[in-house]
């Protein structure tokens, strides 16, 4: 039971019996280490993701213990596989059902760019319909690559503003995809 690695504390002021840091950093740390994945697997990249979830690669080490098949209770949408144009509205609905804060990883060539399926019936990258935070290259990517993508996303989550959802840039981004942001 040696070498148990803990998350590093964010920079702050430490003294006897207290530790002061900014709320953004604490919340970011908590979010980054409890990203619940929502796997949206349509083809071979999904098989690699199953290996990533399994004991050898063990995605749970990163706080993603529970794959949530309910979009309401997940933070990280992993799109793995070819998305046909007929599937596009389904994917978009799954994304809009997710609660803020939410992030998207496009796993593999098909989700990122359409891959080899350069054809009339296949979406040429999911960023045509939803915003994407991290792209994982590969056809399909190995589990290490998927883990690397998730670690990249953790860095994004740690360093972004607590209140990203209310920033005008973020709202403008979502509205450019035709996603409603004002639910009042």
């Amino acid at each position: 039971m040696k070498d148990i690695k803990l998350s590093q504390a964010p920079p702050g002021v430490e003294g006897a019996g207290f530790f002061a840091t900014s709320l953004d950093k604490v919340i970011g740390l908590a979010r980054a280490n409890s990203l619940w994945p929502l796997p949206f697997a349509t083809s071979c990249c999904g098989i690699e993701f199953m290996a990533t979830m399994g004991s050898d690669y063990d995605l749970a080490r990163f706080g993603a213990e529970r794959p949530s098949f309910s979009p309401r209770q997940s933070d990280m949408l992993l799109v793995m596989g070819t998305i046909a144009k007929k599937m596009a509205p389904v994917l978009k609905q799954v994304y809009t059902q997710m609660a803020e804060p939410r992030w998207v990883i496009a796993v593999g060539a098909c989700a990122s760019s359409g891959g080899i399926f350069d054809t009339y019936s296949v979406l040429q990258g999911i960023d045509e319909i939803i915003p994407v935070d991290v792209y994982v290259p590969g056809c399909p990517p190995r589990p290490e690559a998927i883990l690397d993508g998730i670690m990249q996303l953790q860095e994004i989550v740690k360093n972004e503003s607590l209140n990203r959802r209310n920033t005008p840039e973020y709202k403008a981004l979502l509205e450019s995809y035709g996603i409603q942001t004002d639910n009042s």
């Binding site: 350069d118 009339y120 019936s121 296949v122």
Partner: protein, 167 residues
Amino acid sequence: MSKLDNDTLYTRLQERFGDIIRNPDLPYGLLTVETDKDHLIEVLEFLKRDEELQFIYLTDITAVHYPEKELSIAVVYHLHSFVNNLRIRLKVYIDGNSPQIASATILWKAANWMERETYDFFGVRFLGHPDLNRILNVDDMEVFPMRKEHPLEDPNRVDKKDYFFGR
């Protein structure tokens, strides 16, 4: 009962229909004949109902686009006779500008989805079909993608542009 062969089958069709059955061919041993759209249902019904032939199984309906031909859409029917262990292919050339042909759904229920697929990809209108709409592609697609005038690739694709490769 002696099994049917291609020669007998063709003779039977010739006896019954004469000039309506044209251009017989035997690619890979599969008897292929052409007919015209006015007599299509008649021919299909004969093949299905004839006591000797019994082509009761509609294997496939599809189409081929030949942009260089005057009648540029060929609708292709594949039939299978279980008792004779024999297949036949029937081709009907129709006008590509307003492709219309009678529906085979009155003979086979299975023709329903096959004709919807053929409509979806080639725009062939099957007259008398109960519910002719798209079956595989997205509903708001405006083209019939297997026709040769439409590019196969998605025009939104950017990462294959020549300038990324120094071309």
